[in-house]
């Protein structure tokens, strides 16, 4: 303040001294400066003399100014965030009204905070908005996919191409260490941010709540929102921004706002997309005689004994080439993969004015999967209506219903093991016909799998202004969803007996929120906002299933006539019921929109927290300084606005279950002819269980530069996750199996940067927008339960890829053998100086062509002592970029995304190479000329010799648990390129419509990567590239919009 006073005095003195020198006629100017949009006075606007480039005076708190200036000079009214206004001084003007226009939309954007709309300028939390327009280029089943690479800090990996399924979503790093680990397929428990759709929190992970033993349809509620209906998406990243969504917000919050009606004349907008999905390049295999020749060559070259040669004549597939049964060249992969033609239609109607408006959106989306017998289709109807009879009362209703239908074939959707296995069949076998050489083909192609999720969400939202500034708001929401899966496996696919599986799940959720807000401005400088609120959420769900074996025939699919002995019958699979109740208060104060303080305090009770502490208390505080509004900043022409934000806060997400708190009773055996019911000894109940807590510090900087031509946002954060639920196995003397504890924690810290530039002037017919964003996130495990002493290894079976948790390191590391290449010659194999034995495993010594695996402990035997911690399964850097260029009505958009510094285990290559393990078997062979493989003594190669089939059983050259498969998963992907053209209005009107736009796009165009596998993105959240995964398709889209 002092500096400012001094400055003012100095400016006045300077002005005076100048005026003394000039001796020109002075005129007096008086007036008010107001915002053109809001018509509110703007204080502290500087009036600058253009010739001297010095400030003459400033406006006061009410926007009034009074200045003297020489005739003929020009005064510039300058204020951060507004376009400068030039006034030519001629005569005395005592009642001027200067209207300043805003330059920069992003600062005055309205954002939703704690269910209340506020100006972004006065929010202290870190958030990022994406406009709905940016999400229309590519038709997708799940709008979330399109956020990839658009929001710094939001790491989205579209790692499955299965239609209707979600990829993985992480906001600001890893938030769980719960993995399910088996052999080389390790999955991470999804930790998706909380989605709030039109003020109603929904659980996007619903589809995978049962882990990866996926039962029922895997349709996320997010997949039932048509992208055409999305007005905007806002991602709340720090604890202050998410403070008021606390009870489930530990993973961040994503707010989706759907469109509202705002047109006096009713509008009808129709959007159509037609798209072709094509499978990616498939594995190259050798067909027909080439396969036979290679297998024979492999046997002759590597036979261990004469018995192997004899075996050729006993293997008709190899020896009886004239037998027409084995005289084929079947392309098995082509039997499963296909190109599909799909379409989407969307009809949106909206209209109304301030007093009453409405919207209805009807959507149809269908995407047949590139794997046969899979697909997703969606029918949606979303409506809302807002009634505002006077300034004090507002009433809004929402109704959305959706039906999602899905076919998963015989797989789990994102995992298609059946296809993966059968696509490896030998090309010598006859293809599918009346006679089936492979039952798996029928299973994959003829299994009738119908899934349907039906979802209804309704809500009403009322707001009443009691007194000026004092508002009462209430929201009531009910949503219901029903999930059904029916699977019929025909007899030919299941050893001549058909079977039936039925799944039925329903869940509903009731949500109510009440708020009392008060906002006021004192002396035009001090603004306060106070709010108290509560919300209650109750959700219930139950799933049940029935399985019947040996049903009558393929025509009559049941339910009558099954084999009672073999059938599993039916019953309840899961049952859940949970309540959340929260009470919170928040307060916010700002001084001249320059200095802002936000405080919030929230008490959350959840029924999945322990008995002893059902309520958790989550405070948060945020500060913001819009230093760009300081007067002294007005001298920096290039800076339109600038602010610095600091925040701290805590959030929770419930993780426990009722049985982890209260324990469980189970049905035991009979005692005295009475059914006994006793304690379940599997797990000790923990009445002290706490919800997962995330505490976050955030420091942010926002700049708008060069008259809005460039925007720069930078955020750095440190977040600590505590009380992660961790099931601790107990010693076998305890009596109980395990104990759910809270004693784990991890931290994430990192930086996020967003930079956008609009280099061309607004008058230029060419418009070019470029943006770049990136996030660097580092994750460290900080705590494990006491007994583990800082390390726990999640072993994944004999040949599996183990995951290790070690305190002080990135949470999920691999625990593998270190591969150092391939032994070029036999003498490269080290010899034990003590025993004279060569380096060995399983009593078989290594030789040339075998993998050189590091003998870490120096006993010249490869065993479990030689595992080492290595790699980081989570990406360190993620981000994206976009470019859009338009000239009048033609334009082009390009979106890209990248992920860097992540370890991928190329299991696809491992299984591709080990397909050669049995030349006598019924599998295809691949041609390996492109592989850097050892072939003869002396070869220095990367990959071991694949053709010596005798070494697979003990030496296991392509064992999964080695770093040979560990590769850098850095990639840059061009997500999509869109070209659009808007027809001239006149042309459109001649057709009887008001607007017509056509567009052509291609998505998933190209991925630049050094990764040697098929696709560095199509890997699990732990970086395992599964050959059984569902590949991502490349789509070519033609679409048009027309407005009536």
């Amino acid at each position: 303040m002092k500096i400012r006073t001094i400055l003012r005095v100095l400016v006045c003195i300077t002005f005076l001294s100048l005026s003394l020198k000039a001796q020109v006629k002075q005129v007096t100017l008086k007036g008010t400066v107001i915002d053109e949009g809001t018509k509110q006075p703007i204080p502290a606007v500087s009036l600058v003399n253009s010739t001297t480039n010095k400030a003459v005076t400033f406006t006061d708190g009410k926007g009034h100014f009074s200045a003297a200036a020489p005739v003929g000079s020009t005064l510039i009214f300058r204020y951060v965030g507004y376009q400068p206004y030039r006034l030519k001084v001629s005569t005395d003007q005592l009642n001027l009204t200067i209207r300043l226009k805003e330059t920069n939309a992003s600062m005055d954007e309205v954002v939703i905070r704690g269910f209340v709309a506020r100006s972004k300028e006065v929010t202290t939390g870190s958030s990022f908005s994406v406009k709905g327009d940016e999400l229309q280029d590519i038709p997708v089943a799940n709008v979330e996919q399109l956020l990839q690479g658009k929001v710094p800090g939001l790491n989205i990996q579209n790692n499955t191409g299965a239609p209707g399924f979600r990829g993985t979503v992480q906001l600001r790093g890893l938030a769980t260490l719960a993995v399910s680990n088996s052999s080389n397929e390790t999955f991470l428990q999804p930790t998706s941010p909380l989605y709030v759709i039109d003020g109603i929190p929904i659980d996007a992970d619903k589809a995978s709540e049962m882990g990866f033993d996926l039962q029922g349809p895997g349709i996320s509620p997010l997949s039932l929102i048509p992208q055409e209906d999305v007005e905007s998406i806002e991602v709340l990243r720090d604890a202050q921004a998410t403070a008021l969504y606390g009870s489930r917000a530990a993973y961040g919050v994503i707010i989706i706002t759907t469109k509202r009606g705002h047109s006096q004349i009713p509008r009808i907008r129709y959007t159509n997309n037609f798209f072709v999905s094509t499978p990616p390049a498939l594995r190259e295999t050798l067909g027909g005689n080439d396969e036979r020749a290679l297998k024979l060559e492999q046997i002759y070259g590597n036979a261990k004994s004469f018995a192997d040669i004899i075996r050729i004549s006993q293997t008709p597939m190899l020896s009886d080439s004239l037998n027409s049964y084995y005289n084929n060249s079947t392309n098995w992969q082509a039997i499963f993969y296909r190109k599909t033609f799909n379409q989407t239609h969307n009809l949106a109607i909206d209209g109304g004015d301030q007093k009453f408006n409405y919207k209805a959106n009807m959507g149809y989306f269908a995407n047949k999967g590139i794997l046969k017998n899979t697909g997703f289709s969606r029918y949606t109807l979303n409506m809302n209506a807002e009634l505002r009879p006077n300034d004090r009362f507002r009433f809004t209703t929402f109704l959305s219903g959706g039906i999602g239908k899905q076919q998963k074939g015989d797989g789990l959707g994102f995992l298609q093991r059946g296809v993966a296995d059968n696509a490896q069949s030998s090309s010598l076998l006859p293809g599918p016909s009346f006679y089936q050489s492979s039952g798996g083909v029928v299973k994959s192609l003829e299994t009738v799998n119908d899934n349907a999720t039906r979802n209804i969400r309704t809500s009403i939202d009322a707001e009443y202004t009691l007194l000026p500034g004092l508002k009462i708001m209430s929201t009531f929401n009910y949503s219901f969803s029903s999930d059904i899966e029916d699977t019929f496996t025909p007899a030919a696919a299941n050893q001549q007996f058909s079977k039936v599986y039925g799944f039925n799940g329903r869940s509903n959720s009731l949500y109510n929120r009440n708020m009392l807000n008060y906002s006021a401005t004192f002396k035009e400088k001090h603004s306060i906002y106070v709010s108290v609120a509560n919300d209650i959420n109750e959700s219930r769900g139950q799933t049940s299933a029935i399985r019947q074996e040996r049903t009558p025939n393929d025509q009559f699919q049941g339910p009558l006539g099954f084999d009672a002995f073999l059938s599993k019958g039916g019953g309840v699979l899961t049952y859940n019921r949970g309540r959340l109740a929260s009470f919170w208060g928040s307060a916010s104060y700002d001084f001249m929109r320059k200095y802002i303080l936000d405080l919030a305090y929230r008490i959350d009770g959840t029924s999945s927290s322990g008995l002893n502490n059902p309520f958790s208390k989550n405070p948060s505080v945020g500060l913001r300084w819009n230093f760009g509004k300081e007067n002294w900043m007005s001298h920096f022409d290039w800076l339109n606005s600038g602010s610095i934000r600091v925040s701290w806060g805590k959030n929770i997400t419930p993780t426990g279950s009722l049985s982890s708190i209260y324990g469980k009773y189970n049905i035991g055996g009979n005692y005295n002819n009475q059914q006994s019911i006793g304690i379940d000894f599997g797990s000790i109940p923990n009445p002290n269980l706490q919800p997962k807590t995330r505490e976050m510090y955030n420091l942010g900087l926002d700049f708008s530069l060069f008259n809005g031509k460039a925007d720069l946002n930078f955020d750095t954060y440190f977040s600590e996750i505590k009380n992660e639920l961790y099931t601790q196995n107990m010693s076998n003397t305890i009596g109980f199996g395990n104990f759910p504890s809270n004693e784990t924690g991890m931290v994430n810290y990192g930086y996020e940067l967003y930079f956008a530039i609009r280099p061309l002037s607004s008058k230029n017919p060419f418009k070019l927008n470029l943006s770049f964003n990136g996030a660097w996130n580092n994750n460290i495990l900080t705590r494990l339960p006491e007994g583990y002493n800082g390390q726990n290894i999640l072993f994944a079976g004999a040949d599996g890829q183990h995951t290790i948790l070690r305190v002080g390191r990135n949470t999920l590391s691999n625990y593998l053998y270190i591969n150092q290449g391939v032994y070029a010659v036999d003498n490269d194999v080290p010899v034990d100086p003590v025993t004279g034995f060569r380096y060995q495993t399983g009593n078989q010594v290594y030789k040339a062509g075998d993998p050189n695996i590091k003998d870490v402990n120096g006993d010249y035997i490869l065993d479990k002592n030689d595992y080492q911690i290595t790699g980081n399964s989570q990406p360190l850097i993620t981000g994206g970029m976009s470019a859009s260029l338009s000239y009048k009505s033609v334009g082009m958009n390009i979106y890209g995304s990248y992920t860097a510094k992540r370890t991928i285990l190329n299991n696809a290559l491992a299984s591709r190479l080990s397909i050669m393990n049995d030349p006598f078997g019924g599998k295809a062979v691949i041609s390996l000329p492109d592989v850097d493989m050892w072939r003869k003594p002396g070869d220095v190669a990367k990959y071991p010799y694949a053709y010596d089939y005798n070494r697979y059983s003990i030496i296991q050259p392509f064992r999964y648990d080695q770093t040979l498969w560990q590769e850098d998963g850095t990639y840059l992907k061009i997500n999509n390129v869109t070209v659009f053209y808007t027809f001239p209005k006149k042309f459109a009107q001649r057709l009887g419509i008001s607007n017509l736009r056509v567009q052509m796009s291609a998505s998933n165009i190209i991925t630049f990567s050094k990764y040697s596998g098929p696709n560095p993105e199509n890997v699990t959240a732990l970086g395992r590239d599964l050959s059984a995964g569902y590949p991502n398709s490349r789509d070519y889209i033609f679409g048009f919009n027309l407005d009536l």
Binding site: Y749, N827, I869
Partner: protein, 368 residues
């Protein structure tokens, strides 16, 4: 005046610079330190152990002992033997003596053509008699012989002051653990196997009490591992292994690494080895420079025999296999192949002879 304003601007510029710099400095100075994030530590389990705490190696042989269970501690670990002491607390020093010993540098496969080729795959190195290596395995080198390390008492007492205890210190960057009170009870050298012809406690020949004046009349003898179709000259019955006594004994006059085979009849008269006419002399042992005389067959060999425990054409199951055979026309004109064989090993380098003596009857080499 304007000077002042400029000055002010300078301050602003500085503050602007600070504005950019402070958060960067704050964030890059390391959140890890600021928020006390624990650093990575190698893991060392406090449950690490050996499969046994008690070791009974035989001196004079290179022995690899100890199945170490690291309990997933971060490898490589550093091991050291500490606090080697007798039961009464006196320190043990003899383990730390150094002596030259053969260590392998290449892989012996039994196909070497010369002695030099074998020796090019190993070299002599000066090593402490007892070592522990990075895998936690304890190595008692063959250089640890009776004269350097006293073995257990010949009177088989095991008094506290004679018991050898030691601790093993295991460490990595994460910490260290001491595995305490491991114990050695050493067997004295047994330079060859089978060694049932002498007392393992004393190393002396145990003489039959019934006939203790006869130096040959041991309590126990080495017998041939195989004998078949050898017909006694006088009894005309097939000889069994108890009819033959084998001695493995040093002889003088060799070159320091020779092995000799001799055959004696029941009167201790030398049988010409040429009589074992079906013997594959060149593949008998992995030896070179065969010298065949009327009395013996001698080879230059590399000790120990066998060199390593892998199956070769000369050895299997950790023992060298020798077979001597001859053929004759048996009763009824059938060709009979008589053979006698021994599985043995010799650990001490020197000149050794293996003598087969037919004690009860002489073999019949002549046709019927």
């Amino acid at each position: 005046m304007s000077f002042n304003l400029n000055n002010n601007r300078n301050i602003q510029r500085k503050s602007k610079w600070l504005l950019f710099a402070v958060p960067f400095i704050l964030s890059f100075s390391g959140c890890k330190k600021l928020f006390e994030v624990p650093g990575e530590k190698e893991y060392i389990s406090n449950k690490i152990s050996y499969g046994t705490k008690f070791f009974e190696p035989i001196l004079g042989r290179t022995t690899l002992m100890g199945s170490f269970n690291a309990d997933n501690s971060t490898q490589p670990l550093t091991f050291s033997i500490v606090n080697a002491r007798y039961g009464d607390g006196r320190p043990i020093t003899d383990f730390y003596k150094t002596k030259e010993v053969w260590v392998w540098t290449g892989a012996y496969d039994g196909k070497e053509k010369t002695l030099e080729e074998i020796n090019s795959k190993r070299k002599k190195e000066l090593r402490p008699l007892l070592e522990v290596r990075a895998s936690g395995q304890l190595i008692l080198w063959s250089s640890a012989t009776d004269d350097l390390i006293p073995a257990r008492k010949t009177d088989s007492t095991n008094l506290l002051q004679d018991r050898r205890y030691f601790d093993v210190k295991v460490s990595n960057i994460g910490g260290e653990v001491i595995i305490k009170d491991l114990e050695f009870r050493l067997w004295r050298e047994r330079p060859y196997e089978p060694s049932n012809d002498f007392n393992p406690y004393t190393g002396k020949i145990a003489i039959t009490p019934a006939d203790f004046l006869d130096p040959i009349n041991k309590l126990n003898y080495i017998r041939p591992s195989r004998i078949s179709n050898i017909i006694g000259k006088s009894t005309r019955k097939e000889l069994v292994s108890n009819d033959v006594v084998v001695s493995i004994r040093p002889f003088s006059g060799g070159n320091g690494h020779s092995l000799r085979f001799r055959f004696l009849d029941k009167n201790a008269v030398v049988i010409n080895p040429a009589k074992f006419n079906e013997t594959k002399w060149d593949q008998l042992v992995h030896g070179f420079n065969r010298q065949t005389t009327d009395e013996y067959v001698q080879y230059d060999v590399a000790y120990p025999i066998p060199l390593i425990n892998i199956p070769t054409s000369y050895a299997s199951g950790g023992r060298a296999n020798v077979n001597f055979s001859y053929s004759r026309l048996g009763f009824g004109g059938i060709r009979q192949v008589g053979s006698i064989g021994l599985d043995f090993s010799i650990y001490r380098e020197g000149d050794w002879e293996i003598v087969f003596q037919f004690r009860n009857d002489n073999p019949k080499f002549e046709d019927e």
